[in-house]
Symmetry: C2
Subunit: 326 residues, 2 copies
């Protein structure tokens, strides 16, 4: 079976380009010619999509999100929605408000609404999730967390964590403070943290971990307590929102960033460029994750086989909020 992945590899273009091409979106003349040839060679034509359509499709796709006001989720939703729209599908969004029970309930609700598939922006996948997915008998793509039984689009959180940790170490910082989140969020609470800590191994680092939530305000309040006592010269917030909460506290405490404290976050949120100093962060391709989730889900709906895990890359963006120890 030829997948979108194979075609992308053969053509040397992004999967989203192939998807755009298959869905009749804009691609360059050159790319189109290349893809036409590969598709013809593989007998894999866009028409097959139409042929294999199930009789009872509603052309509705459901997304379950953990919370409103998350930049990362909203960017991914935009990518997801645009891709779905190109193929004439409509997205219905339900917010689970970081409540596992509501998340499970939303799976059943969406199934009852007869959506063709579900995209779950997940913190963790429990046996109740698995039961709900099984009973709803709907194709599923998980975004942001990995699970062996489901198709997942994940970010390389360990790499992201490692790049920030290694950057701090390489710049001479020996006392590092991390504002992290609960392990219930596996990607951020476990994998990202693991990456950070990996960078400290064998490096004579004094390392402190404090636990906060995803809320900017919670990080701010905790930082007001923690910063006056800290001897750390480098602070890592587990998300950009957390970093901004810390920045606000540092400003109120008149602790200069980056002269007294270096500060880094994760995400590459738009706001990290709007504040000053601009915040060093790891850029994640959230929008691309949404596009990829749409691609995979649409293929699953068509009954195609797809690889189970798609891991997206990310990169460190060094800005003015961090500097080397002098």
């Amino acid at each position: 079976m030829v997948t979108i992945n194979d075609i992308a590899k053969q053509a040397g273009v992004a999967k989203s380009t192939v998807s755009r091409y298959l869905n009749g979106g804009a691609v360059s003349e050159k790319t189109k010619a290349k893809l036409d040839a590969i598709v013809a060679r593989n007998d894999y034509t866009p028409n097959k999509f139409a042929q294999s359509l199930k009789a009872k499709r509603t052309h509705m796709v459901g997304a379950i999100i953990p919370r409103l006001n998350s930049y990362a989720t909203n960017e991914a939703l935009k990518g997801l929605e645009n891709s779905l729209r190109l193929s004439k599908n409509q997205l219905l969004i339900t917010n689970a408000d970081q409540n596992r029970e509501r998340e499970i309930e939303a799976i059943y609700t969406l199934a009852k609404q007869k959506v063709d598939g579900i995209v779950l922006f997940a913190a963790e996948i429990t046996p109740e999730h698995e039961k709900a997915f099984e009973e709803s008998a709907t194709p599923v793509v998980i975004v942001g967390q990995s699970h062996p039984n489901y198709h997942c689009v994940i970010h390389d959180d360990e790499k992201a964590g490692y790049s920030v940790g290694a950057y701090a170490v390489a710049n001479g910082h020996r006392n590092i403070l991390v504002f992290g989140v609960d392990e219930a969020d596996q990607a951020v609470g476990i994998t990202r943290r693991k990456g950070i800590e990996k960078a400290f191994v064998g490096k004579d680092i004094t390392y402190t971990f404090v636990k906060t939530s995803f809320s900017m305000m919670d990080a701010y309040k905790l930082a007001l307590e923690v910063l006056p006592e800290t001897k750390a010269t480098f602070i890592i917030g587990a998300t950009d929102n957390i970093a901004i909460g810390i920045m606000r506290a540092a400003h109120e405490l008149q602790m200069d960033i980056p002269n007294r404290l270096s500060l880094a976050g994760f995400g590459g949120y738009e706001i990290t460029e709007a504040v000053h100093p601009r915040i060093t962060t790891v850029h994640f391709p959230f929008h691309e994750a949404g596009i990829l989730a749409a691609d995979i889900l649409l293929q699953l709906i068509e009954g195609k086989e797809m690889p189970y895990v798609e891991k997206l890359d990310n990169h460190l963006m060094i800005r003015e909020s961090t500097q080397a120890i002098k």
Copy 2:
């Protein structure tokens, strides 16, 4: 017919309190006793809700939002969702991406999904909207814009505009620059602007208006062009996002806020407190707007009559980004 409004007035409590009470949520003992008495006197009992339930309720409510990543909309959605959930209704959100055609399409889609009612976060109501609402035969509440034929929850945008304009004038500013948005958004593009301009009448103000979008990045780019030439001492951004875009440009141009330029926004977004200087803004009760929209919609679904317009108050929050002319 006794409405929730009447009960709230008689009890001297907020409508959301009455709604909470009727829906079995938490209210104080004292309030409960007062409401019990009024409800008994009016023969208006929570049970009537159940009695008048339509046979075919799905307990789904649809919300159509203009864009993801809007703090104002997300706050209102939170209020809407919590209220709906208290009364065992589930919210399905569709994003129209500031596209009128998609908005109309979403009305039909939600009707096809047999939602009990629709909340539209609107920029403008066109005849196509009216036609879609008529054909979908579903109760509707509009949030953020007013229209004579629909139940609307609106903010007092004229007052908000006036309070910022009057504050600038009262603090000795005579050259004022406004970053506004298109008139297609009536509340922000017309009413809010009208309020600002009202404050300048007969005051010998040099006033410049430039048009941007709701995007932080667009405001930033426009400000990079406009700020170097401006003689204004006070800049008003039509939303907090716009103000933050302007702030970023001012910082890059090394124009000190508030010493060279005072800067104010609208919304009361969380981020205006996290940046420094903290931004003077008008706080709108977005969350309350969502709660109110849920209350009204649920009453309409029950076949009750409700007042057509609910206008919510707002207040100026003076912070460090503005100061008097010395």
